[in-house]
Amino acid sequence: MESNSIVASIKKDYILTVLETGKRVDGREFDEYREIEIIRGYAQRAEGSALVRIGNTQVLAGVKLSLATPFPDTPDEGILSTTAELVPLASPSFDIGPPDERAIELSRVVDRALRESNALDLEKLCIVPNEKVWLVNVDIYILDYDGNLFDASCLAAISALLDARFPKLEDDKIIYEEKTNEALPIKNKPVEVTFAKIGKYTVVDPNLEEEEVMDARITFGITQENELCALQKGLRGSFTREEILDLFDKAIEKAKELRRYLE
């Protein structure tokens, strides 16, 4: 995701010059998100779905339910599986083919927030212990990439889970055409808050221009109890202990803002 040398360095100089004035290239404050919009029920063949826009970034998540055998070590729990596709439609830097390391990291960090916050009550997704449980697939589809995929993807995933309704189950077969009114057993609504470090400055919700020059990235997954449920530092740059603790505090504040979009 690094741009090539000279252009990148000129771009970075420009962005830093603006940051020195206390503003960002798109006019935002350091701790300000771009405009956020969430449209639930966007993809109606999914059991649940949500399109999330953060500025020009667009992410669509769809939830599909099916039946599966539980894992041997959790015989009375359903299964949650999260994937992300960086479809080439969304950016010239995304390629056709199996998920690359960026897509894998993205899906795993979102999965971590969902899983570790117990967003889904997996025990309630058990139908017959050891034999049959609900498999919940959350597929995250990046449609337009203008920065900050982590936060947008996590918002889309949890929104799609909130939107989902169980389909009818008849003699062990799913009647996908008939959705029931029953929602999934949601126990927590985690959100992720990402900061970019550019030179000595740290800004929330980086847009693409900022991501192209950032030195480091850090993502906090925050539960509705303001606890940390996931954390991921990225890129070559570093953070000090103090920066991390400070950003954690900011993340808790931002998480409250984001969680308003989940109501």
């Binding site: 779905s49 099916s66 439609l89 950016s91 010239p92 697939n137």
Partner: protein, 244 residues
């Protein structure tokens, strides 16, 4: 007999979704819906929801695919895992490969590829919600995305299917008709010249039925063409120029 097949697909002269035999599903087209892509199109066709994006002309990767005398056009048709009843595993299946090929060939006809030697023009099509007829819908959307990207073309390609359902020739099959009907004939045309650049059929048609279905599909495609132009006009303005 196939499980899930309705007893009848036509009841009292109407189709199961209430349409007349020669009636299109509602279609909504919007050009320029993505920021990163050079051109894009969002299309709703009945319950189908499709986004197409165009990138290019741009450098070719891998390089050995580059052609000294023209651009290469590559269309990739893909379905989101959640776009169908039972989750579709990510990754290309054989059907998607074939559809990508015929859509590419249908569009190669109208793009002035020789203007951009050694370049690539890529069109990515994502089916977000599928309800039958995604091939024609995708070709239609891809055309608009190309135009939105400013790629020089001799015309748009407009597409529509006709088919045979319970013995009747009908326009624009939706999913149940597609699955349980007797024939599906997708047609892509270049409206200004009348050329047919996409043509496939599966099912069973007599010579007469085929002719009737072909004509019906062409008629449908011409209606789709108007909507394509309207979408481009809506974006670029068209009162005092352009198509009219």
């Amino acid at each position: 007999m196939k499980v899930g097949k309705p007893e009848k697909l036509i009841v009292n002269g109407k189709r199961l979704d209430g349409r007349a035999f020669d009636e299109l599903r509602p279609i909504k087209i919007k050009a320029g819906v993505l920021k990163r892509a050079d051109g894009s199109c969002y299309l709703e066709w009945g319950k189908n929801k499709i986004i197409a994006a165009c990138y290019g002309p741009r450098e070719v990767h891998p390089r050995h695919l580059a052609r000294p005398d023209r651009a290469i056009l590559r269309c990739v048709y893909k379905m989101a895992p959640f776009s169908v009843k039972e989750r579709k595993k990510p990754g290309p299946d054989r059907r998607s490969v074939e559809l990508s090929k015929v859509i590419t060939e249908a569009l190669e006809n109208v793009v002035f590829l020789n203007l951009f030697p050694r370049s690539a023009i890529d069109v990515y099509i994502e089916v977000l919600q599928a309800e039958g007829g995604t091939r024609c819908a995708s070709l239609t959307a891809a055309s608009v995305a190309l135009a939105d990207a400013g790629v020089p073309m001799k015309d748009l390609v407009a597409a529509c299917a006709a088919g045979k359902v319970d013995g009747e020739i009908v326009l624009d099959l939706f999913e149940l008709e597609d699955n349980y009907g007797e024939a599906d004939l997708p047609v892509g045309i270049v409206p200004r010249t009348g050329e047919i650049t996409l043509l496939q059929m599966d099912g069973n048609l007599t010579r007469e039925e085929f002719e009737k279905a072909l004509d019906l599909a062409i008629k449908g495609a011409l209606q789709v063409y108007e909507l394509q132009k309207a979408a481009l006009k809506e974006k670029y303005g068209g009162e005092n120029g352009g198509e009219q």
